[in-house]
């Protein structure tokens, strides 16, 4: 079973086309293992991306070095998954 310990989901807000292009570049870097929940497309739209634990620091460093604003939507994905699993087990028991 694949676990998601330490995976974070970031919401990235771009200001202009240049920043969108930077994110599209990031998207093409397969070794980072990014899972875009909303892909970079236009400056007005936010970008949501799930980042594996091993890539969190490098992605944040990249965003900060480019001055691209972001916030953390999900701090640790596995915590949310565990909660879901627990809810399902309780429902099944009921």
């Amino acid at each position: 079973l694949e676990t998601f310990v330490g995976h974070q989901v970031l919401r990235i807000k771009t200001k202009n086309e240049e920043e969108v292009k930077q994110l599209q570049l990031l998207e093409s870097l397969e070794h980072l293992g990014l899972d875009f929940w909303i892909n970079p497309s236009a400056p007005a739209l936010p970008v949501d991306v799930r980042i594996p634990a091993a890539s969190v620091q490098s992605v944040k460093a990249f965003l900060e070095s480019q001055g691209i604003a972001y916030s953390i939507l999900i701090e640790d994905l596995q915590d949310v998954l565990d909660k879901e699993k627990q809810d399902m087990a309780e429902s099944a028991q009921r």
Partner: protein, 308 residues
């Protein structure tokens, strides 16, 4: 004698439990039938519910959910909606007049292999589970695999990508089964698909950024449906073409449906806005389904009244 169901629509279920509930709905209501429209890559049956009160090859509405397997609230909502339609026929004027004139086909788990995989191996799995020759990566994004601008912008040619379009249009048997079914039926008037994430209601096009011929009608109907959705819990849906609302994406189902003559083609993106991702708490399943149903009903009423 009617059997009683202990199915809890307010929680998430496995594929086996969902299929059992489809059997139950079909046995409970004489106008509901469980039909198989094909088989997935891993040979799981693709079951749809057919709601039909009679007539032969009546004009029909298509509704599917769960083509992206991790979007669990869509499969769950589809079941609640199926039960709502079945139980309200005969008492609710709108549903009764709809089903007296049209048939409805509902596919609650459009990607069963992916759905089982989200339960057993990887909760975040989105694609099919087909093996790609020459690649270590598995699966195709089934909403980039339709014959509508296939392989164009907004789809990846890398098998390892979450939005991989596949080796060719309709390469995924889950997609081809729906395509074959809709073509052989020949009388679908609406194609509605449920996705989840970020609260959008979209119509064609996604593979190109131009307006469809029926832009004015689709925009106005989309806004009316979004207003119905908002009326229940205040949830705001953004309305527009796929390209303008989210991003250019080729090979999508509603573009295929529209280009094949099904005018009323809409994709819903249900809750959530991001705080829970695809892990929307079970307590929000029924509210999501209820508000979605109001939007769907608004569109279905329009389809019923504006025959073409």
């Amino acid at each position: 004698q009617r059997s009683s169901s202990s199915f809890d629509f307010g929680t998430y279920h496995t594929l086996d439990d969902i299929n059992e509930e489809l059997d139950h709905l079909a046995s409970e209501y004489s106008f509901v039938e469980k039909i198989q429209i094909g088989e997935s890559y891993e040979q799981r049956p693709l079951y749809a519910l057919k709601f039909s009160t009679g007539g032969r090859n009546r004009p029909a509405i298509w509704l599917d959910a769960g083509i992206h397997s991790r979007e669990w609230v869509t499969q769950a909502s589809a079941l609640w909606i199926a039960n709502k339609i079945a139980s309200d026929y005969g008492t609710d004027d709108s549903i009764t007049s709809l089903l007296d004139k049209m048939d409805l086909f509902l596919l609650p788990v459009a990607n069963p292999d992916g759905f089982v995989y989200t339960h057993t191996s990887n909760r975040m799995w989105r694609k099919t589970r087909s093996k790609i020759p020459g690649s270590v990566c598995v699966g195709v994004d089934p909403n980039r695999n339709w014959d509508a601008g296939f392989g164009g912008p907004g789809a990846s040619n890398s098998p390892c990508s979450e939005s991989y379009h596949g080796p060719s249009a309709n390469s995924e048997v889950e997609v081809k089964s729906v395509v074959d079914f809709i073509k052989s039926h020949g009388n679908f008037k609406a194609f509605l698909t449920l996705h989840s994430y970020s609260q959008l209601l979209m119509y064609p096009y996604g593979y190109k950024c131009t307006r469809p011929d029926d832009y004015a009608e689709l925009e106005s109907l989309g806004r009316a449906a979004a207003s119905s959705i908002r009326s229940l819990y205040g949830t705001t849906f953004q309305v527009g073409t796929i390209c303008n609302t989210i991003y250019q994406a080729s090979g999508g189902s509603i573009d295929w449906a529209y280009d094949n003559g099904i005018k009323y083609s809409f994709a819903f993106e249900l809750r959530d806005t991001g705080r829970y991702g695809f892990l929307l708490p079970a307590s929000q399943i029924i509210p999501a389904a209820q508000e979605t149903w109001l939007g769907l009903k608004r569109i279905m009423e329009h389809v019923r009244d504006k025959s073409y």
